[in-house]
C-alpha cells in the first residue's frame, strides 16, 4: 500500500516536472515562431501597392526611402537613383482633388482608370493605392515590386514608426538602446547600493536593526509596479525636471531611478542571504590570521558568497530589463536613440505593452512586437548564462 503511494507520488512529480518543461519549451517555441513570421511580411502594407510612371527608371525602393518620400523629405528622383525629376507623392484620397465625384462613376468603378490616367500624365509620381484599384491594364503604369522585410533593416533600423504609411518602420535600435540605457543605469545605481546594504545588514547591523530593516525591505519587493510607476510620475518626474532644469521630467534617468528602487529589495535579500550563509569557520579562519573585520568581508566573505551575489545581480538585471509598467509611466516613451540620460526613451517591454493592443493579430506590427519579445528573452537568457559562467569559472570548487 505504502509502496504504491510512493510510486504514485513519484510518477506525479515526474509528470508535473515534464509537463512544466514541455510547456516552457512550447512557450519559447511559440514566441520565436511568431517572431520569425514577421520577416515573411513585405515592406509595403499588405493590400496596397506602389506605382510609378512607366518611364521612371527606379526599379525598387527601400522602406526607408519610401518613408522619406511620403514624408516629403526626399523630393527628387535622382536622390534615390532615378532621373532628375521632382517626386510627386500620391495617395488615393488625392484623386478627389482632381476629379468630380461623378467622373469616378458609380461605386468608384472608374477609379482605377482615372488613377491610371493620373499616373500616365505625371512623370514624377509615386502612387500608393489599394490593390483593388490598381490600373493593371494601363501600360504606362508600373507597379514597384514590394520586397520582403530585410532583417538588417530591423536590427540596424533607427526609426520605430509601426503605423507609418505606406511603409511602416520597424527599427530596433532606439528601443534596444532605450532598454539597455535605462537598465544599465538602474544597475549602476542599484548594485553598489544593494550590495552595500546587504553587507551592512549581514555583517555590521545589530540584531535589532536587522530585524526591523529586513522585513521592511522585503515588503518593498511586494509593492505592485504600477504603484512604483505612479510614485515616479508624481514625485520623481517633477523633481528631476526641477533639479536638472529639463523641458520634461520623463527621462531615462527617471526610469533608471525607479528601476533601481524596484530592483533593490531583490538584490539586497538575495545577496544578504548568501553573505549570511558564509560558514562561521571561514570567518574565524580569516580573523584568526589577524585580518580585520573589513578585510575578512572583502577578501573572504564576498568571494565566498560570489555565486549568491551574482544571482542577486542577475535577478536585479532581469527585473530591470523586463520591467514594464513603471518604466512605461516615467520614461516618456519617445522611440529615439538617447544620447544622454536626460532624454525620453522607450524600452522594449514598454513598447510591447503600449502597442500590442492596437496591433492587429497576425499583422506585421504584432509580428514586430513578437520579435521584440524574442529579443528581450535572449537578453535575459544571455545575462543569466553569463552570470552562471562567471561564478562557475571563478569559484568552481565551492
Amino acid at each position: 500500500m505504502n509502496r504504491t503511494a510512493e510510486k504514485l507520488a513519484e510518477s506525479l512529480l515526474t509528470v508535473s516536472g515534464t509537463t512544466t518543461g514541455i510547456v516552457i519549451l512550447l512557450i519559447v517555441f511559440f514566441l520565436f515562431k511568431e517572431g520569425a513570421g514577421f520577416f515573411h511580411h513585405n515592406d509595403v502594407e499588405a493590400g496596397y501597392a506602389l506605382c510609378v510612371n512607366g518611364e521612371n527608371a527606379v526599379k525598387n525602393l527601400s522602406s526607408g526611402q519610401i518613408k522619406d518620400i511620403f514624408d516629403y523629405e526626399t523630393g527628387n528622383w535622382k536622390e534615390v537613383g532615378g532621373a532628375d525629376e521632382e517626386i510627386v507623392p500620391f495617395r488615393v484620397s488625392d484623386i478627389i482633388n482632381m476629379y468630380q465625384e461623378a467622373e469616378l462613376g458609380e461605386n468608384y468603378v472608374l477609379l482605377p482608370e482615372k488613377i491610371g490616367e493620373t499616373i500616365a500624365k505625371t512623370r514624377g509620381i509615386i502612387a500608393f493605392i489599394p490593390v483593388q484599384y490598381l490600373p493593371e491594364s494601363n501600360p504606362e503604369v508600373r507597379v514597384l515590386e514590394s520586397k520582403r522585410l530585410n532583417p538588417s533593416d530591423f536590427f540596424m533600423g533607427k526609426d520605430w514608426m509601426p503605423t507609418a504609411t505606406p511603409a511602416p518602420q520597424f527599427g530596433l535600435l532606439p528601443l534596444l538602446a532605450g532598454t539597455l540605457w535605462v537598465s544599465l543605469f538602474a544597475i549602476i545605481i542599484a548594485l553598489p547600493l544593494g550590495l552595500g546594504v546587504a553587507i551592512y545588514l549581514a555583517e555590521l547591523a545589530g540584531e535589532r536593526t536587522r530585524n526591523l530593516l529586513k522585513p521592511a525591505i522585503e515588503l518593498l519587493a511586494g509593492i505592485p509596479s504600477v504603484v512604483y510607476g505612479f510614485f515616479g510620475l508624481v514625485v520623481l518626474v517633477p523633481f528631476i525636471q526641477k533639479i536638472f532644469d529639463l523641458p520634461v521630467g520623463e527621462t531615462a534617468f527617471a526610469g533608471s531611478l525607479i528601476l533601481a528602487i524596484m530592483a533593490l529589495p531583490t538584490i539586497i535579500t538575495v545577496a544578504e542571504d548568501s553573505i549570511r550563509n558564509t560558514p562561521q569557520s571561514i570567518r574565524e579562519a580569516s580573523l584568526g590570521l589577524g585580518a580585520s573585520h573589513w578585510q575578512t568581508i572583502c577578501r573572504v566573505i564576498i568571494p565566498y558568497s560570489a555565486s549568491g551575489i551574482s544571482a542577486a545581480i542577475v535577478l536585479g538585471i532581469g527585473r530591470a530589463v523586463g520591467e514594464t509598467m513603471a518604466v512605461l509611466m516615467v520614461t516618456g516613451n519617445a522611440a529615439v536613440i538617447p544620447h544622454t540620460l536626460f532624454e525620453p526613451v522607450r524600452t522594449i517591454p514598454a513598447t510591447i505593452a503600449a502597442e500590442l493592443g492596437e496591433a492587429p493579430a497576425g499583422g506585421i506590427h504584432s509580428g514586430a512586437l513578437f520579435v521584440l519579445g524574442c529579443i528581450l528573452f535572449i537578453i535575459t537568457a544571455a545575462v543569466s548564462v553569463g552570470a552562471e559562467l562567471i561564478s562557475k569559472n571563478k569559484y568552481k570548487n565551492i
Binding site: S281, L287, G288, L289, G290, R299, Y304, N397
Partner: protein, 248 residues
C-alpha cells in the same frame, strides 16, 4: 609564555570556565583533555580572543602572553591574532588557490613584496610537510586537496605569519588515521619553534604528543601536570576515572 590568572568565563548566564589559573612554558606542547562541554575549547579560544566573536559573553581574570594582559583595552586584537595562530577542528581553507591561502595572512598584514611572500609560502608549506605534495599545483583551488592535506594547509597558513603560539582545536578529529599521524609528526617538529596548545578528544594522542596535559571537567581545571604524570599517576581521582574510561 602563556599564563592565566583566575579566569572565569560566562556564555550568558552559563558559567563555562571556573577560576582557572595555569602557566604554559615556551616551546612546549600542552594538551587539554576532558569530556565534551568541559570548557577546554572555550579556554583555548581565550588566547587569541576568538570568543570575542560570540555575542553575550563575559570574562573576568587575567590572560597574559609574555607578561602582557591580552584583554586590556589597549591591546590590538588583530596584532594579537597574528602572534597567536589557530588551527580549527574542521579544515577551513578559503575559497582561493593553495598559494593564496598561505599568502593570505601576509597580504592582510599589508605585505606586498612578492618575492618575500613566495619565500614565506614555500617555507610554510615545507614546515607543514605539504610542499612536496602541492608544489606543482599551487595555483589550484585549495578544495582540490584531501581533508588531511587541507588541514596541513591550514597549519601552513597559520605558520606563514610567524606566530609564536599555535592553538589547535582538535585538529585531527575529522581526519583519517594516516593523516592524523602526519599531523602528530608535524606537531613534534613544530615544537622546536612554536609554543603549541592543543585540544583533543583522543587521549592516546594527548599522551603521544604533549609535554604537559590539563584535564578539564565541568568548567574546572582538575589537574595540570606533566603528561607522563597525568596518564600514569594522576593526583586526582576524576582524572584517573576519565583516562581509564570510566566516564566521559
Amino acid at each position: 609564555m602563556l599564563e592565566t590568572i583566575n579566569i572565569n568565563f560566562w556564555y550568558g548566564a552559563f558559567h563555562a570556565l571556573k577560576d582557572i589559573s595555569m602557566k604554559i612554558e615556551r616551546n612546549t606542547v600542552t594538551a587539554f583533555i576532558g569530556p565534551s562541554g568541559c570548557g577546554k575549547s572555550t579556554f583555548l579560544r581565550l588566547f587569541n580572543r576568538m570568543n570575542d566573536l560570540i555575542p553575550d559573553t563575559h570574562l573576568t581574570g587575567e590572560c597574559l602572553i609574555d607578561g602582557k594582559n591580552i584583554y586590556s583595552k589597549t591591546v590590538d586584537v588583530t596584532g594579537l591574532r597574528k602572534n597567536v595562530g589557530m588551527v580549527f577542528q574542521k579544515p577551513n581553507p578559503f575559497p582561493k588557490t593553495i598559494y593564496d591561502n598561505v599568502a593570505y595572512g601576509l597580504r592582510v598584514d599589508g605585505e606586498s613584496n612578492r618575492g618575500l611572500i613566495a619565500r614565506r609560502v614555500e617555507e610554510s608549506l615545507k614546515s607543514a610537510a605539504l610542499w612536496d605534495e602541492v608544489k606543482d599545483k599551487l595555483k589550484k583551488s585549495a578544495f582540490e586537496l584531501s581533508g588531511g592535506q587541507q588541514q596541513r594547509l591550514c597549519i601552513a597558513r597559520a605558520l606563514a605569519i610567524s606566530p609564536s603560539v599555535i592553538l589547535m582545536d582538535e585538529p585531527a578529529s575529522a581526519l583519517d588515521p594516516v593523516s592524523t599521524s602526519k599531523i602528530e609528526d608535524l606537531i613534534h617538529t613544530l615544537k622546536r619553534d612554536y609554543t603549541i596548545v592543543i585540544v583533543t578528544h583522543n587521549m592516546q594522542q594527548a599522551a603521544r604528543i604533549s609535554d604537559r596535559t590539563g584535564f578539564f571537567m565541568l568548567g574546572e581545571l582538575i589537574e595540570f601536570n606533566d603528561t607522563k604524570k597525568v596518564f600514569l599517576n594522576p593526583d586526582r581521582e576524576e582524572t584517573q576515572n576519565y583516562i581509564t574510561g570510566r566516564f566521559g
